[in-house]
């Protein structure tokens, strides 16, 4: 069964990069440009994993994460945060709010793939 991943990322080129790498590995990737749209898609599709950029217009990653964790149907979906490095407190905040993992930008595509595989392998 194809694993479904929803990617929320406002930078199209980075989104395309991630999409390409994951699709090549056989994952089904849906890309959304902002948090609000991503939330809609998550509610509609119930993906196996969510890749959530922190800094996004309309609704930022933390807000999406907070809403997901409030929703009984969605709270069990693993979330990987994509952060611009450095701010440890951002990382801590994300983990504290229930994110499964985090990846700092810039990242190695292979590393991102490995982490996704690990999480999806675990929850299978």
């Amino acid at each position: 069964m194809t694993r479904k991943i929803i990617l929320a990322e406002d930078e199209p080129q980075i989104a395309r990069l991630i999409e390409f790498k994951l699709k090549k590995e056989g994952y089904e990737v849906t890309w959304k440009e902002n948090g609000e749209e991503a939330l809609k898609a998550i509610r509609a599709d119930k993906p196996d994993l969510i890749l959530l950029d922190v800094m996004m217009p309309v609704m930022d990653g933390y807000e999406v994460l907070r809403r997901l964790k409030e929703d009984e149907n969605l709270k069990s979906i693993p979330v990987v945060m994509l952060t611009a490095r450095a701010q440890e407190k951002d990382v801590v905040k994300g983990i504290d709010m229930g994110a499964e993992d985090y990846i700092t930008k810039p990242f190695h595509p292979a590393e991102l793939l490995a982490r996704v595989k690990r999480i999806l392998g675990k929850s299978r």
Partner: protein, 681 residues
Amino acid sequence: MKNKSTKHIRISEHLALLGIGLAALYWILESAIDAFVFQEGTFTERIIGATPAEIWMRAVIMSIIIIFAVYAQVVITRRRKIEETLRKRTYDINERVKELECLYGISGLVEKRHIPLSEILKSAVDLISSAWQYPEITCARIIVENQTFKTNNFRETAWKQAADIVVHDKQTGTLEVCYLEERPESDEGPFLSGERSLINAIAELLGGIIDHKKAEEEIKNLAKFPDENPNPVLRVARDSSVIYCNRTGLPLLDLWGSALGQPLPDFWRQTINDVLSSSSNKTIEVVLRDRIFSFVVAPVVGRGYINLYGLDITERRKAEEEVTRVADDLSRIIKTVNAPIIGVDVKGLVNEWNQKAADITGYSRDEVLGHNFVEDFIDDDCKALLQQVSDKALKGEETANFEFSLNTKDGQLVIVLFNATTRRDASGNIIGVFSIGQDISERKKIEQMKSDFVALASHELRTPLTSIQGYAELILDGDVGEISKEQREFLEIISQNTQRLEALINDVLDVEKIESGRMTMKMEKTDLIQIVDNCVNTFKIMAENKGLQLEKDVKISPINVLGDSDRLSQVFSNLLSNAIKYTKEGRVKISARIKGELASVAIEDTGLGMSPEDMKIVFSRFFRAEDSYVRKTTGSGLGLSIAKATIERHNGDIKLESKLGAGSKFEVILPLFKENKGAGQ
């Protein structure tokens, strides 16, 4: 005199003997007459055969002769006695005369007024010997207040008499008399009891002289007093004519065109009349050429004259003018300086509020003076801090560069950086606090902007970097098909440089965090050995690729400190990567030790080393070694300054030993974790 009395005695003796001789002659003549004129038998027969009248006659004559002889003897004895007494009296009188001569001589010295005390004592000591029994072997010494006066022949011997010289019940000196040779024992050693009295008398006399002379000198000094006074002192009569003027006053008289006996200039007259009629002092100022004098004009009641006590106040006046000028300058500076100045008294009420303070707060000086500063103008958050600073300043402790927010009239907050100093009056009593500030609202805004900018820029830089890095790797990973060897090589160059750029951005962000004080540390019990192990594992390959040996020297484990393991890891990684980077050949060694209360991790290399000049600035930002080899190596130049700041935040230190061409040793010192402190503090 002695010889005369002896002659008297001899004459009386001769008279007595003459009497006896005449009696004996009479007896012989009478007997011869008997024998040859009367021719009546032998001498014996004639005695027995003598007539009673003859026997009576002779007995009477014999008796007369005997009586005469006895009388003569009695007369002689009595005369001798009288002569002896006389002789003794004469001797005693002589002695007394000697003593009196001595005492009189000493007293006489005092009569001569102009002779100083030392001269008197010098002369007195020479007068003493002659009054003693054996003047030729007598010497004397006077010691008064550490000054010694002695006869030329003075020598201290065992035959000594001494007496204290006492002035006002206080021993001020001693008088000593010595015999230079032994003399037969008398009343007091070889001395006579009279000599004891004499030495005491002389000592007493000397005491009196010293007392007298001192008093005399005091009076003399006192008399010199007005003349030595550096201030002018004058006495003038009712008509303002000068009766007396001390030495300092004379030039003034000249300038006034006056002199002793002449009247003072007209301007004095009014003042003199005033003080005479009011009988009270008056002070006037007199300017004479470039000097200013203040004169106290004091009438001497009942005598009809006036004393003028002058005081040259030129310097004082200049100083006063200087003080006034400085005070004026200061108040002008306070008024116009482009920094808020706020003063409060000991009760905290505002007593200084300059224009700048008014400008930044919107409250005018008048609105603020007399108000409680802390209560009325300080933001609640800052009240406690400011009260503390103010209390400290009122105890004399100054605080520099403390920041607080002031409430402005229109409800804004301005952030001000202040220095508080203690304000004291002329006698040094604390009278308040004086604060000079700086409106740093703008600076704060700029700092915030800079910090925001750095954060934003680094984020904005990161996005394209993520793309470059990601796509390059995508191709490198072979995700888009096979690539040639050269394509791979060039893509790797792109990848390496994006990594380098990323490291630089991260370092810049760290520096910004350190500067703005936003570098957060997660302090917990951390094992340094574990960090060292991880670092060694990470850098093993890098070292091996360069053909370097990476040694680990750890003899004790764990070594716990209180710290942020990620940050410490960053520090050791930085030091290790530097060591490897700057070492062409040889080894890099990392060692961990416990040194007393401290943990020590040292990273040693056999690399380029540093000059003493470089060692001084190696921890400063963007420091890069001036070496062609190093130029080829990469790095932001921020690593060591971040490492140093990080370790300092851990209450530790980084020490550096280095020698150009021989290698460097960076030693990180951290306080050991104390179990009882507990983690997370």
